[in-house]
Amino acid sequence: MWKRLNSLIRHDDLDRRLNAEVRFHIEMETEKNIRLGMSPDDARLKALRSFGPMEKHKEETRDARGVGWIETLVADLRYGGRALLKHPGYAVLAVLTLGLGIGANTAIFSVINGVLLKPLPYEHGERLVVVQQSAPLSGRRSTGVAIAEYFDYRERAKDAFDGLVEYHQMNFDLINRGEPDRVNTGVVSANFFDLLGIEPVIGRTFVAADDVKGAEAVLVLSHTYWQTKFGGDPNIVGQVFEMNDRPHRVIGVLPNVPHYPQENDVYMPVLACPFRAAAEGNIARNRRAFAALNVFGRLKPGVSAEQAASTVGSICHNFTNDRTFAQVYRPEQSGFQGTVVEVRDALTSGARDMLLILLGITGMILLIACANVANLTLARMLGRDRELAMRTALGAGRSRLVRQLLTESGLLAVCGGIVGVVFAYGTIGMLTRFVGRFTSRTGEIEIDLIVLIFTLGVSIVTGILFGTLPALGSRVDLVSALKQGGGQTGESRGRKRMQGALIVAQVAVSVVLLVGAGLLLASFYRLQRVETGYRSTGVLAAQVYGNFSKYPDVDSLRRLYLPMIDRLQSQPGVVSVAVTNAVPLAGGAPGTTRFDIEGRVTDDPERRPTSDTRIASSKYFETIGIPLVSGRVFNDLDTDISNPVIVINKSMAKYWDGTDPVGSKISTDRGEHWFTVVGVVGDVRQFGLAQETVAQLYVPLTQTPQGFAGQVLVRTTGDPASFSNTLRNTVHLVDSTLPVEQVQTLDDLRSEALAAPRLTATLLAIFAALALLVTLAGIGGVIATSVTQRTKEFGLRMALGAGRDSVLAMVIRQGLSLVVIGLAVGVAGALVAGRVLNAYLYQTAPRDPIIFAGVAALFILCGIIACLIPARRATTVDPLIALRAE
């Protein structure tokens, strides 16, 4: 053992001694031969012959030193490194190409690792499940969980869960040194943090005593909020802040872990939320009061998610079929049901498909990169035939040669891997933002050890992949290789076939990517041209929410907003001002309020048409630019004591079957109250550019019976963005404690809505363009080497009378034939693979023939250009020189 280690360390020294030993042997043998009567020259020759192949023996001696693979590897690496440095252009190109392919995969993998693969950072995260209720027959995928329902589950599912907690998010104002700070507040059960296994870094989290009536209001701060707003003040525990007109005492700070289900700034116990507390008082009268809870729990050990699902399902079945709640649930019509879903799935399922698609794409890019480097290597092999032949003649074993070639490839691949990691670092920020549109679990995306190991593995596999191909073709025909001028040996024909096959594969993969990019771009273009139904340019929007305790009812809200509208209207540069409860394209889902049309009452209440309800101040339609179709919009005569009126949109007007709805009445509570339709306005894309418009009705701000959130809209003469400070100041003149948030122009909002499809299309287009470039470079390279090899042939042809054009045509035909075969394969692949993109296409068929034709034409054109450059070199061959050259 020591001898082996010794040999490894004193390598050079031992080599020198071996040489000395062999030299001694030859000298002695030579002298013996001289004594036998030979001339000194003959004596030495005979001595050398008797010794046998010297290098081989020396090599075997070195091998016999027994360090085995390490020493061989080091030697191979040294050799490979030197060989690469001799051809820096090739090495740099190969490393960059590989770096791109490996880097793209590394980046995507780190996202997949952080979103899909990593276990949740909570204790027993795999046992966390969320209770989901839905009413599929009524078309409601998610109905939330109401307070009373949560109590039922908590009471009755004790043997399935270790604990069942509730969560909902509110926006409250935390008065910090007199400044109102709008904070995302998580309102949670007392054992919420215990369930997740989150220990505070300072202080404590909630206990049962914090969540009883009359208990002091307490707060737990998130780590980020503590750092950014309080500078990580270690004395934060015990400080008191005003929230919802009550003092709240900070009792602890959370560690820096990702939050579930949403990121929040602070947390409070359930009864500290005034809205929730009020609703809880109502559950006797309203079974589904406050159906906005997220309910989740931890499975008892030994209980599976399926078992818990069936427990929850039967509890749900029991209360939906309870006579007392017959009118509430109507299970046969609504299909109301409850089940349980693993938290990890719930968090990440939105991103899974997109990420797998991206992984497929980057895998394809890597294959293209490998094919390119393999082609580069094959091309270089043509120049190394002689070198390899000599080495074989000198006794290098074939396996040793192959090993050396593989080591060289491995070296390239590992360097490519390093470049790839750098590339991944650069792109991971952008990717994280991109995937954030599909899932909220982005906080754990990072390039960590697992990702690096993945990169190493991919690099090694890549090296083997593109290294074996040329190495396989390294069977060397000694005689013909050593002969001057090589010529077309059977060897190089095999290699040429391999190069051709690689090109075809690259073209096919590039075609698939290009078609995908083309489809997404076409879809994005169509999406962009969607008529929103309103005029977004020149309008500034802001969220101005009245604090619940200061403005507990509709009257106080009106007393807030109506003067605010007047003040804003009087500012210079303002065309009109409005207040509504949500701006279009700000996301959300349509409400489903059922209504009856006077004179057309339906028997089955579940079959009534539904509509989404919007609240609009009098100048809303002109501010946002929705056209009036018939009747009138709201005006100052519509007050809280005048006739209740509404305005409907064209989609809702369809329910009147052609008659003019203006003047007729509708009711949303089965006839108790009626509203008169005074006008019909145009449809808007409220919930998304790709979403169909829904029936909507607008209630005047002055007449709405319910509380709402205030969205202020201001149409300005100049650039709306420059109005934001004036907006803020004017609002604060009305009430200085009101935070003004989400200030953006409607144009920005529209851009936001287009962001995800824009990014997806751009991403794929970039990948496809890269693939195209790399493939074209590959084609160019292969054609160029082919031309170099066929110099003699071209010379001959031209000497025999062929014109330059026919030679040009020959070369181009050779290249194009590869492209066409690749196109055929690629088109077939794209037809099959296109279905994968279905979910992301807007009004674009995955088999759109225009896109396919376009891609084919593009490729043929580019292919011709790629062949043209080396082809022109073929035509500049001087026939005489070519024929003479060896």
Partner: protein, 109 residues
């Protein structure tokens, strides 16, 4: 004289036996083998060296640089205790084998 190709194991055996007669350097070993076998066994001289290294690594011989008969520096090899044991074992095995082959060849056809 025909050069008989020697199997690796056989060469090892011959080297060990040669060194049992006393320490020697590589060239000397090749000469001895040639002499004693009366030129029947002409070892491809170079293949001695990998064999010597192998035996060295296995611990059956050890080496030392010293002065040769004509005062030149040469690497001398000598048998170790382990090597002596190995030589005894392999010789016995070889004898057993040749005895068996002989018996088969002597059997009447």
């Amino acid at each position: 004289m025909a050069k008989l190709d020697l199997l690796q194991g056989t060469l090892d055996l011959l080297i060990l036996k040669t060194l049992a007669l006393g320490p020697q350097h590589g060239w000397g070993i090749s000469q001895r083998i040639q002499q004693i076998s009366e030129n029947v066994l002409r070892v491809n001289q170079g293949s001695l060296y990998p064999a010597l290294q192998r035996l060295d690594t296995a611990g059956w011989i050890e080496s030392e640089w010293g002065a040769s008969e004509n005062n030149r520096q040469a690497k001398f090899y000598k048998l170790t205790k382990k090597g002596e044991r190995q030589l005894r074992d392999e010789t016995a095995q070889w004898e057993r084998m040749t005895l068996a082959v002989q018996k088969i060849l002597e059997t009447e056809a």
